[in-house]
């Protein structure tokens, strides 16, 4: 028996039914939600892959926190590779209109080896691709410097001690894809002018890079040879590991957005299950008749399964198209993060969408299909013959299991996946419990209600299961949105407000030993309180106890990076108020025995305990001391703090620079300009600008998440419609009876309205309670500020739920109100 043509013929009829529409819509929303994130991430990854060597500026880069040893250059040249070098560090630059921190990159004449810079004559002016880099005596600057310090083309600006002429405005740099995260605008100069600036001094945070490029084999040989000869603080990055940090954060972001998008898939699965069940109920008599006519169980199954698969294919295709469209919006919102054009996405996310669609269809439509298989033939004669119902939990185990697997896969690791599964289950479980309690409580009110309101509430109670599913699905969707609203507007604002008014808002670093008295005098002369200055000595961790330390010893990426780089070590006699001892004891005055105090977070990352002896390489000398205390540091005090502090007498002999943080009242920016004029090597970082940057980033990221959560709300609405569809017959029937008994259109609409208003308000209550609960946890546990209840949250929740659901519900039940009574009663009975 060829079932396919029969199935398609039946589908043509069934396609217009409510449940087919719900199934289609649920798949559309779920697939669109997942593919939006998938397509977007694919584009960003595509940009990273295609431009990997451009991002590097060469085919391979040797990166060091000291000048790259000459041996590397010689070896590259001997092999016939092209070489270029860059030196990057932050420093203040000043022009006619003021001073600003800038990310300075001094490059050799051959830079870049791969990719091209683009420059313009003015910010936002027409740009062009250029070969090479700035000529000696000139600089190319990032757009923001033009307005901040008056660095228009042709103007002279000071970089350290050197006056240099602005020759162009940089619009695109090949080796910076994420300049959004850069703290300060770029300044590109020729490395021939570097010495004249006098900026690269002891203790300066400078990164040296040697870029090489050539044919693949030569580069690979160079890579293999030189990797073995890397010294301390040196590493090689190839195209493969280019921007691995960017990639890691991107993957993390994708994982998070992906998990957020699965919320819609979970909600959609409820709609799919409801629709499939109703489909199966409506096919029951037809199936019994077909069995009488000779169809085997397998035929019944196949005919219905083909219909579901065809609907699924249509839903997935539409969802993928919608996802493709939606990712364009997402890319537009997040365009600030990227300074490269994003390539078109690949086909993989479409496959991912298809997998989601298949999981939903197979997992949640098979149980009702299996039920149809079991329809007894006798049913054709007697409609009261029951069909064996599979136990629902066992029947949906496949679907629930697939969903859990999907979540774990999206999370990328079992632990996070397990947590996410648990989190989703908990959220839905709590929402279900709360919803159940509320429905019971509300239906008690029915005795006091009159007319249509009483009947609406009575229906809410009678359809407890269906009402509960709606309250839960919509409640969770709205909760996600409310929580974002709270976090975005409220919590971050409160956190900022909770900071003292005189909290430091500027860091000055790179102050040399011999400048200390003059800097102190400078502040005193301006009537500002003399800031606390802290010494900073750079050292690399070489051993913990007897064990030499190497990056390869650590699994954790952060630990590896920490070990690879130089630490800023400091010394102090007294424990500062924003530090607190959590293990061991702070040294007593006059204790000569060399000791270290380590910040607890880093101690945990590197497995350092009180009693361990740490050995540091400071400027070629080994400095060892025992860890005698662990400290908890209030990082959000915005004061200069250190991971590792020594007691007096350990580090003073080594080259040090000084750092301070201070509060600069607004309107006194000239203080910074004069400070930098007098001490050109001192860098000042504006924390308010960074805070603004952080806020902008968090705003954009939360917009992206909000965008993804919109799909969750859409899925909630589909669940609502699924529930309306499954109860459509009942509603039409009740409407007809009420009409017969004399109900006006207004009274019938009020009956429907009261039920949906109740469902909407209950979803709003569940959503608001959940959002406030989570906000309290976030606020008090994560941000450390007491949560202040804001009426806007519950009001927004109730409005979103009540108004939204009432409108959607009335739209969905038009038929119940508009059908002529006799036809409606006949259709149902």
């Amino acid at each position: 028996m060829n079932n396919f043509p029969i199935a398609m013929r039946m589908l043509r009829r069934n396609a217009h039914s409510g449940e087919a529409r719900v199934l289609f819509a649920a798949l559309l929303v779920a697939v669109a939600s997942v593919t939006t994130v998938g397509f977007f991430a694919d584009r960003v990854k595509g940009a990273l892959d295609r431009q990997a060597n451009e991002l590097l500026g060469g085919d391979l880069v040797v990166i060091a926190d000291h000048p790259v040893p000459a041996a590397f250059v010689e070896r590259a040249r001997a092999g016939g590779l092209a070489v270029a070098s860059t030196t990057t560090f932050p420093s203040m630059v000043s022009g006619a209109d003021g001073t600003s921190l800038s990310e300075i990159k001094a490059v050799s004449g051959t830079f870049p080896l791969r990719g091209r810079l683009r420059v313009a004559a003015m910010p936002a002016g027409p740009d062009r691709e250029v070969e090479g880099s700035p000529a000696p005596g000139t600089v190319w600057v990032g757009g923001p410097l033009v307005s901040r310090i008056g660095a228009a083309v042709g103007q002279t600006i000071r970089v350290g001690n050197a006056p240099l002429t602005v020759a162009a405005i940089i619009t695109r740099e090949p080796d910076s894809v994420l300049d959004y995260f850069g703290l300060a605008p770029r300044l590109l100069m020729n490395d021939a002018d570097l010495a004249a600036t006098g900026l690269v001094q002891v203790g300066s945070r400078v990164t040296h890079r040697l870029l090489v490029a050539g044919d693949v084999q030569t580069v690979e040989r160079f890579d293999a040879d030189m990797r073995a000869r890397l010294g301390r603080g040196e590493r090689i990055e190839g195209v493969r590991d280019a921007r691995s940090e960017v990639r890691v954060s991107l993957e993390r972001a994708q994982r998070f957005l992906g998990l957020a998008s699965l919320l819609s898939v979970i909600l959609a699965s409820v709609a799919v299950a409801l629709a499939a069940r109703r489909f199966s109920m409506r096919q029951t008599d037809g199936a019994a008749m077909m069995r009488c006519l000779g169809a085997a169980q397998a035929d019944i199954f196949a005919i219905n399964a083909w219909q579901f698969l065809a609907l699924a294919a249509a839903g997935c295709a539409a969802g993928t198209l919608a996802g493709y469209g939606a990712q364009a919006v997402l890319s537009h919102w997040l365009s600030g993060f990227f300074n490269v054009a994003l390539p078109a996405p690949g086909w993989r996310p479409a496959v991912q969408g298809a997998v989601i669609g298949l999981v939903l269809v197979l997992g949640f439509t098979i149980p009702p299909l299996l039920r149809l298989r079991n329809v007894p033939t006798l049913r054709a004669l007697r409609s009261d013959v029951a069909v064996a119902e599979p136990s629902s939990l066992a029947a949906y185990a496949l679907g629930l299991g697939s969903l859990a697997a999907l979540i774990v896969w999206q999370a990328g690791d079992v632990k996070l996946g397990g947590l996410a599964v648990g989190g989703f289950a908990l959220a839905l479980g709590v929402a279900a419990l709360a919803g159940y309690g509320l429905i019971r409580a509300l239906s008690r009110l029915r005795a006091g209600a009159t007319g249509p309101w009483r009947y609406g509430l009575a229906n809410l109670r009678r359809r407890t299961g269906s009402s509960l599913v709606q309250v839960m699905a919509l409640g969770v969707g709205i909760m996600a949105m409310l929580l974002l609203m709270v976090v975005r507007s409220d919590l971050i604002l409160k956190w900022q407000e909770s900071m003292p008014a005189d909290m430091p808002n500027r860091f000055a670093l790179n102050i040399q030993n011999d400048q200390l008295p003059a800097v102190k005098a400078y502040f005193a002369g301006l009537g500002l309180s003399t800031p606390d200055l802290y010494p900073m000595v750079r050292g690399r961790l070489v051993a913990i106890g007897d064990r030499p330390v190497s990056p390869a010893d650590f699994e954790d990426q952060r630990a590896r990076r920490l070990v690879e780089r130089e630490f800023n070590l400091s010394w102090a006699a007294d424990l500062r108020p924003d530090n607190q001892i959590v293990g061991g004891a702070w040294w007593k005055p006059g204790e000569a025995d060399p000791q270290f105090s380590v910040e607890e977070g880093i101690a945990k990352t590197l497995s350092i305990r009180v009693g361990d002896t740490l050995a540091w390489d400071v400027g070629g000398t080994r400095v060892s001391a025992r860890v005698t205390s662990l400290r908890k540091v209030e990082w959000d005090s915005f004061k200069a703090n250190f991971f590792v502090i020594a007691n007096p007498g350990v580090l003073e002999a080594y080259p040090a620079s000084w750092i301070t943080s201070f509060h600069l009242p607004s309107g006194r920016e000239e203080v910074i300009n004069r400070l930098v004029e007098r001490f050109p090597n001192v860098s000042v970082i504006d924390l308010t600008a960074i805070m603004g940057q952080v806020k902008r980033i968090s705003d954009q990221v939360s917009r992206a998440v909000e965008f993804v959560f919109l799909f969750a709300i859409a899925a909630g609405v589909v669940v609502l419609f699924a529930a309306i569809t499954t109860t459509q017959d009942e509603r039409v029937f009740e409407g007809a009876v009420m009409r017969t008994l004399g109900a006006s259109r207004r009274q019938m609409m009020l009956t429907q309205l009261s039920e949906f208003l109740a469902i909407g308000l209950l979803s709003g209550v569940v959503a608001a309670a959940g959002a406030v609960g989570l906000a309290i946890v976030l606020s008090e546990r994560v941000l450390g500020v007491p949560y202040e209840f804001d009426w806007v949250v519950p009001v927004a929740g109730l409005l979103a739920g009540g108004v939204g659901v009432a409108i959607a519900g009335l739209l969905g039940t038009r038929r119940a109100v508009n059908s002529p009574p006799l036809a409606a009663i006949r259709a149902v009975t």
Binding site: R454, A458, E734, V737, T740, G742, A743, S744, L822, T829
Partner: protein
């Protein structure tokens, strides 16, 4: 479509002379389109029913009796023709107007009871009273439930009641607003004969006690025989 003559059109017994008319049908026709032809379900029915009468509409299955009842009650809209209830032209009103008129004048008993499953017996009986905006709905509904012998079943939901009990609730609901006119569509069709007889007794008792006009559709000859008049319908055509 079969044309019918004017004389056939009016083959209906009129209400007794001098008796006020509660229902009047004139040229009442219902037809539906099928892919092949126009199907005439009720064909130009014209008759009058006097106030306080009990009338049985009888006919074979598919003869159009339930459709006729639906048209008389304004539950369905005719293709042509008119119906007056208590002097009001039913189809000159809109759907809401017809519903209000039903609420004021008409009660209805269905073959399958058609109680709302979400409501208790009492609430089901209260429903038309509340829809009509009567303040003492609960008290009146309780009284009517007492009259049908279901005082102790007030708080029960339809699913907790037997078929006969459900139909008694339906009868109570139909009489709660003290309508001038009660339509019943095969009121015993879903009941065993003993229970059916009880419900019929109840209907006629209420008809007597309240002076309500009773119009019922049945193919039960015994039941039809108890009525004052019968209206026979065959292939859509109404005969006296």
């Amino acid at each position: 479509m079969n044309a019918i003559s004017k004389s056939e059109d009016r083959r209906v017994a009129p209400a007794a002379a001098g008796q006020p008319v509660i229902v009047r049908a004139e040229g009442l026709t219902k037809q539906v389109s099928t892919p092949d032809h126009e199907l005439v379900i009720v064909n130009g029915a014209t008759f009058a029913i006097g106030a306080g009468d009990s009338v049985a509409i009888v006919g074979a299955s598919g003869s159009g009796k339930s459709t006729l009842l639906g048209l008389l009650a304004g539950l369905d809209v005719p293709s042509s023709g008119r119906v007056w209830i208590d002097g009001e032209d039913l189809f000159a009103l809109d759907e809401d107007g017809r519903a209000r008129l039903r609420g004021r004048l008409v009660g209805f008993v269905f073959q399958s009871f058609q109680l709302l499953p979400a409501l208790t017996a009492l609430e089901n009986v209260m429903l038309p009273l509340e829809l009509a905006g009567l303040a003492d709905a609960a008290a009146r509904a309780s009284l009517v439930l007492d009259q049908v012998g279901l005082a102790d079943r007030r708080g029960h939901y339809p699913r907790q009641l037997s078929g006969g009990e459900q139909q008694r609730v339906a009868v109570a609901r139909a009489f709660a607003t003290e309508p001038k006119l009660l339509f019943a569509d095969e009121p015993t069709g879903n009941l065993d004969s003993a229970t059916g007889a009880q419900v019929i007794e109840l209907l006629f008792r209420m008809n007597r006690d309240h002076g309500t006009t009773l119009v019922l559709v049945t193919h039960d000859e015994a039941l039809a025989a108890r009525c004052d008049r019968r209206i026979a319908i065959s292939a859509g055509v109404v005969a006296a």
